[in-house]
């Protein structure tokens, strides 16, 4: 069993009108089975309303399954006794950095999590230091968070989660509100955590460029897993992705368009280097 496992996960909520009368049920997550191994980098794609955020909220017991079960490090999230362990194992980072920072000083904010877990003071400071270093924000430890850029704030949020020593981090569109530079900083930090610290990463995003380094991509639609595979496998299916309101990285799209016009390029080109290599071959052969 992996670090995170979902078994026939279903989540339904009741729609009510203004007077509180039941209007019907909506199935936001529909029979999702996933087994995520420790150290994996998983990307979750899906259009607005596809159920990806609702799914993610099950992974650290913000929401509980209507049917089926979620196991985090082997612990069932529905059991009350497991709550703290589950939240400690799987940390969550949200879209808006301003909603997640509470401290007046960066290092205080990062220390908030371990402090609440009852970690001894000396160790809190050690954890704060290592977490801030891991996301490249150590030199800002004495700064006020509201003077930081969006990307910096978001990295502080990630450090705040890291300081709780999770085995798994779930990031729900962490770059949606950032400029290109901030986006790069955050993704770089996340990849480093995955590769250096072997932390399991589950990244939910609308930016196709951010998922090309993932071990596996999961595409959701109508609460179900619509596609599952390596980035190469997923991005080879340009038309299917477009049907699901998604996209492919720009370089993949360009290769796809050229292929449609008769240029002999393989499917699923993900990086510029690959593209240049393949195009050089075509060019050389003429």
């Amino acid at each position: 069993m992996g670090i995170i496992q979902t078994k026939n996960l279903v989540f339904e909520y009741i729609r009510r009108d203004e007077e509180g009368n039941v209007e019907g049920f909506t199935r936001a997550v529909d029979n999702v089975n996933l087994d995520i191994k420790q150290g994996d980098f998983i990307a979750v794609l899906g259009h607005n309303g596809s159920g990806k955020s609702t799914f993610a909220k099950h992974l650290n017991a913000i929401l509980y399954p209507t049917e089926g079960a979620v196991f985090v490090d082997g612990k069932n999230t529905t059991k009350k006794d497991n709550l703290w362990d589950v939240r400690r194992t799987a940390g969550m980072v949200f879209q808006n950095p301003d909603n997640q920072i509470i401290g007046q000083v960066v290092e205080e904010d990062v220390g908030f999590g371990p402090e609440n877990m009852g970690v001894p003071t000396k160790e809190i400071w050690e954890r704060v230091e290592e977490s801030l270093k891991a996301v490249g924000m150590y030199e800002y430890r004495k700064h006020s968070p509201n003077k930081l850029s969006g990307g910096q704030k978001q990295r502080v949020s990630i450090a705040g989660v890291l300081a709780m020593h999770p085995k798994c981090i779930i990031l729900d569109e962490p770059t949606a509100m950032l400029d290109p530079k901030g986006r790069k900083e955050v993704i770089r930090a996340v990849r480093a955590l995955n590769q250096v610290e072997n932390i399991t990463v589950i990244l939910i995003t609308h930016y196709m460029e951010e998922v090309i380094y993932a071990d596996k991509v999961v595409v959701m639609d109508k609460g179900r897993v619509a596609m599952e595979g390596t980035p190469k496998e997923i991005f080879s299916k340009v038309d299917k992705l477009k049907e699901l309101r998604l996209d492919v990285p720009q370089v993949t799209l360009l290769a796809h368009e050229l292929k449609k016009s008769g240029v002999k390029l393989p499917d699923g080109i993900l990086t510029t280097e690959e593209f240049v290599k393949e195009l050089s071959k075509v060019f050389g052969n003429r």
Binding site: E18, G46, H47, N48, G49, S50, Q95, S149, G150, G151, E173, A176, M177, L178, D179, P180, K181, G182, H206, M208, E209, K242, R245, L246, D247, P249, Q250, V251, L253, L254, E257, L258, S261, V263, T272, E273, F275, V276, K277, L279, S280, V282, F283, R286
Partner: protein
């Protein structure tokens, strides 16, 4: 000339011991019917600049002219300016509040003091322009999807019948299809209705695809003000200020470095495709 920003400076906290110059001597001319992209990293002054354009912030120094009239003149009709220069903030759907979609869109024109019939006519027109179907008119705006909510919020501004529409990152948080839909809808408004559009964006790809002219802000100053091709030629400078060129520009650069004789001018997928095909054909 629709809107002229003339030597505008803005200093936040000028009377404190920590003044911050958010805008420094900005000069900008916006003509009728243009589609302008405003880019710059977080904190470069984009939002401060657009808030000057409809009088939400008063310049510390300099002047702004709307249809040749100085908006800081004592007898200038500020209320009229705010309806003529419509500002759509980031995540505008957070500002929806009415019981149903139609009433929400009516709110703006109602506050202009227009007769009920006119208000409803405008709301209807605006909702049609953003592509909201009749069946949604009497639903709660909160039951709609993210992309739909955003359309409703934009309709709320359109119902004021603005001449200039300023949108602050209208596609943030939307899925790729939603992004395309919103942007082509905005392009349509510009083309069909002749509305002048200023698009604040972090996506170089979107800017390259849709706008006629790009204004690049950095540290409260205008760094570039030219058409997309011209601006993206300076991609190294853009990187230095935390921006980038569209992905396509980089692909073309790399191709050229590898000895494929392509031009590095293309900024959109379509242009890149045409360029590569052209080079391949010539080679034959």
């Amino acid at each position: 000339m629709l809107l002229v920003v003339d030597h505008v400076s803005c200093i936040y906290g000028a009377d404190t011991n920590m003044p911050v110059a958010a805008l420094k001597d900005i000069n900008l001319v916006i003509k009728e019917g243009e589609f302008i992209g405003l880019i710059g990293h977080t904190g470069s002054g984009k939002s401060t600049l657009v808030q000057h354009m409809n009088g939400l912030i008063k310049a510390t120094d300099g002047a702004i002219y709307f249809h040749g009239q100085d908006i800081y003149d004592g007898d200038f009709d500020k209320k009229n300016l705010r309806s003529k220069v419509g500002l759509v903030f980031q995540y505008p759907e957070h500002q929806l509040f009415e019981v149903d979609v139609f009433s929400d869109v009516c709110f703006g024109p109602k506050n202009l003091g227009l007769p009920k019939k006119e208000v409803e006519l405008r709301a209807y027109k605006a909702l049609k322009q953003v592509g909201i179907l009749d069946e949604y008119f009497y639903q709660s705006p909160f039951d709609l999807s993210g992309g739909q909510k955003r359309r409703v919020a934009i309709a709320g501004v359109l119902a004021m019948e603005p001449e200039v529409l300023i949108l602050d990152e209208p596609t943030a948080g939307l899925d790729p299809k939603g992004r395309d839909e919103i942007l082509s809808m905005i392009k349509n408004l510009q083309k069909e209705m002749g509305i002048t559009v200023i698009l604040v964006s972090h996506s170089m790809e979107d800017v390259a695809e849709y706008v006629d002219r790009i204004v690049v802000m950095n540290k409260g100053e205008i760094l570039f003000n030219a058409e997309p091709k011209e601006v993206f030629k300076h991609y190294k400078q853009l990187e230095e200020i935390g921006l980038a060129a569209p992905a396509v520009t980089y692909i073309m650069e790399k191709c050229k470095e590898a000895g494929i004789p392509v031009s590095t001018e293309p900024t959109t997928i379509y242009e890149a495709k045409q360029e590569i095909l052209k080079v391949l054909v010539q080679r034959k």
